[in-house]
Structures are given as structure tokens and as C-alpha cells.
Amino acid sequence: MQLDQLYQEIILDHYKRPKGRGLREPFAAGVHHVNPTCGDEITLRVALDGETISDISYDGQGCSISQASASVLYELLNGRKVDDAFAVHAAFVELMGGKGQVEPDEEVLGDAVAFAGVAKYPARVKCALLSWMALKDAVAQAVALEKEEV
């Protein structure tokens, strides 16, 4: 059993010292996602500046995987163009769905490559994806709202 692969130093570090945590104003859209099987929760807000995600703020409770994943997401996607962020998002979802067979691209995924080991634990994949699904939902809502206003 490769517990070290699951709980890599990077993950434990993000868990203990999360980046960007806390809910902030202003924001264009906010969502609340839960993992009904385990009760992990996240509230996530995004602010847009044109094509750019100008802030991702979040708060939540859950296991080290779900909380570290939100911190990595913040570090990786905050300040990125929406299209770029969705490309990274797609790569992360592919990695998590790969049952450990997908070779992650560190250029694209940065610290998120540390989650490659999580993909081998089907029960934990949803933990890792919680904040990422929330982000996609929030950005989609924010973009839709922006279009309405224009």
C-alpha cells in the first residue's frame, strides 16, 4: 500500500497551509457544493475581470484531499483567462478519472500533479474533484451573468 503516494508532502502542505482560503468580495457568482456520500462541503466564489478570473475565494470543510485540492486550484487558476483555466480543469479531471494510468503534465498542472496518486483510490476521487466542479459551475454562472449584462 502506497500511502505516501496518496498523502504527498505537497498535499499535506496545502492542507495545513491553504492558499487563498476565505470568502471575499466582490464576486460575480458563488456556489455551494457538497459530496453527499461523506459530507465534504465547499462554498466557492469567482470574480471576473473581462476574460480573466480575477479572484477565486472559498471556504469549506472536509478531508485533507478535498481541502488541499481547493488550495491547489486557487494557486493554479486564480488570475488566469477563463479558457486557460478550463483547459487546466479538463486536464485535472482527466487525471482524476484515469485510475492512475494517466501521466500528468507538470507544465499544465503544477502542484496538482501531486493528486495523481489519489486517482488510484476511487473513494477519494470525488474529494479531489469537489472544488474543481464548484469552480466550473461558478465560472459558467459568472460568464452567463456577464453576457446578460452586455
Binding site: M1, L3, L6, Y7, L12, T37, C38, G39, D40, E41, Q61, G62, C63, S64, I65, S66, Q67, Y121, R124, C127
Partner: protein
Amino acid sequence: MTALTIPAGMPQYDDKPRFDVERVRADFPILGREVNGHPLVYLDSGNTSQKPRQVIDAVARYYAEHNANVARSVHTLGTESTEAYEGARAKVAAFIGAPSVDEVVFTKNATEALNLVAHAFGPHAQDPRFRLGPGDEIVISEMEHHSNIVPWQLLCQRTGATLRWFGLTETGRLDESNLDELVNERTKIVSIVHMSNVLGTVNATARITARVREVGALLMLDCSQSVPHLPMDVVDYDADFIAFTGHKMLAPTGIGVLWGRGELLNAMPPFLGGGSMIETVKMTGSTFAPAPARFEAGTPPIAQAVGLGAAIDYLTAIGMDAVAWHDKELTAYALDALDTVPGLRIYGPRVPVGRGATISFTLDGIHPHDVGQVLDSLGVQVRVGHHCAKPICDRFAVPALTRASFYLYTTTDEVDALVRGLDQVRKVFA
């Protein structure tokens, strides 16, 4: 079963029934396997129990030698199958002290049994005891499994009735201080858990039963956790319905039991319609068989019922008093052992009185998912999460809990393995 030596100075426990745990363990093939390179330490029996060779063999033998559909064939195999299925029903009836075999309804699990009773209630019920509408009340508690919450919430949505509940004390006992106000002349049914699947609390039901009788309501007990662990006599408990499930008491999944007073069952409308539950069917309408057949539409879980019968034989041979005493000693040991783990907080009774062998806890600053994952790497299988009882987590303001639950094959060595594992958890997340 051989008696164990009683430590000197404990004469008051001399007469307690005991059994040889190692001999019991030898009956469970799975207990010999390894998990992640460590001997399996299975502490998730509250979730589902492991199965002894005797149950596995009974199911295999049924399929190998007797398999046929029940209650509809004149041929030999059909007769043998029917006898096996009905024989299992008789074993269940004896096991819980049911006055009549016909009061035992086989369902797929306890959830179905609870839903079946909830569905008997409605605005147009023929029997006034099941007539339910705005102004009527149903009482549950804050320590229920979701399966004893959601069916009643849905029923209240359908009928406009009001759902009310007992609160919990800080130590995880039922708060009965407002019993007389909570259970009143508007109450139609009180449905509460006998033993909590999270807190381990075994509810003392006598005062509640007395109040239920006083106001003319019905009483249902969710015995999913108690029937596998404690002697049960439905007449002694003076309940109207009890629900439990086979897979938590050494039997296969897919078989559950609803016991109800015969007179009540026959006053209830059918639940699912189909074959086997009818008296006669015409294109213009149908009439229905009496209980239990009325509630057993379609081909039932026959092999699973046979497995449940074998499980009951196994438990009866050991003796439910002995199982209960084993649970009690183990729980006393585990409560003390867990107390030595820094940062560990137990939710539920801290003394081995009025509680069963299920202990839920948190470790300071470490999420239960992470606790469970590290324990698994050491072969220790515990459940983590909200245990299908989210209101308990809300009550105690915790997002999730780690739960260790024991059974007749659990040893003090396994409790020690849990405690050692928790030390490892604390090292990983230090």
C-alpha cells in the same frame, strides 16, 4: 462453546454466558485474509457483518440442491424451496419472540420495512389508526438513520401531517424531558431507533411505550442495530412494528424483516402490487392475501432468507445473551483504550451501560476520511463520514465521524490494533 476463566474478584459476573471468540473466528473465512499486507481488522460490523461458513454453505447448498421458485409449484423442488423459505420465517419468528409466524414479513432490507409502514398511512386509510392528514403528528428522533427520517418526511409531504422529534442530550441519550408534550393525542405513530448506528446508544423504550399507549398512537422500533446484538422479544418490548435487516446479523444482503402485530398488518393496505400478494385478480379489480403474503409481491429473496435462517441458527447456538455480554466487555475495554489516545473525543455514551458495541469519535484536527485512509493502510477497516445519520453530526456540530463497530468475532487485540493505528494517523498528520 468453552467458558473463559473469570478474573478473580469479579464473582458478580460468574453467571454471565460466554463463548470462545477464537473458535467463532475460525468459522469466518474472511477473517483469515490480509488487507494491504496486514491481517484484516474488521471494525465495520455496524455497516455490515461478516458471514460464517455455516451461512455461506447454507446459501450454496440451497442453490446446489433445492433451487426453485416458492409458493407456486407442485413439484418437489418447489416444495423444498417453499419449505426452506417458510422455515426461515419460522426461525425469525422464534428469534424475536413473535406470537405468530404470519407476523414476519420478509422485505429487502430494514429501509423497505420502514417505508412499507410509512406507506400504510394516508388520508384515505380504511383503518382510522392509519388515517393521516393535516393536524396529525409523527414522532421520530434526532438520532435516526436516514431510513427512519426520510420515509416519514415524504409521508408528511404527501399528507400535510407534521413531523416532530426527540432531541438528544450532550451524552447522546434520547432527551425525554418533553415526552408528554411531544407524544400527544395528535400523534399517530412514534418511530424511533432502538440502538443508534452512530452513537451506540440503546434507547430505554418503556416510558415512551407507556406514553404511546396512553395517547393511542402506534410504536415502531428500528432494530437494525439491536436485533443482531441483543436478545429481542417483541412482546416484552410491547412494540407494534419492528424493522431489521439480515446482513448486519451474519446473513446475506437483500433480506430484511418487518415484524408487525398481525391485526395491524391485516388492517394495512398492500405496499407493492404483483404476484403472490393477491387473493384473486380480475380485470375489474383485485383482492389481497392476508399478511405476510400481502406485503411480499413478486419472487422473494429465497436464498437470502435461507441464509438468514442459518445465521439465526448460528446466533442461537451461541446465545444472544452471550453475544450481548461479549459486546459489553469489548465496549468497556474499547472505551478505556480509546480514552488513552490524545485528542480523541467520543460521541455518545462514555460508559458501557445502555449502549452497544459501536463507538464514534473524532481526532483533533484530522478529518475522518484521512483517519479511515491511514487505518486502511494498516488493515483496519472502519467507517467514516456521516453514517446516514446527518442530523447527529449537525447536533454535535461535526462534519463527519470515524466509527468502529464490533461483533461477536471482534477481539481486544483488534481494539489494540485500532488504537495503534490511531497513533500512526496522528504521526502522518502531525
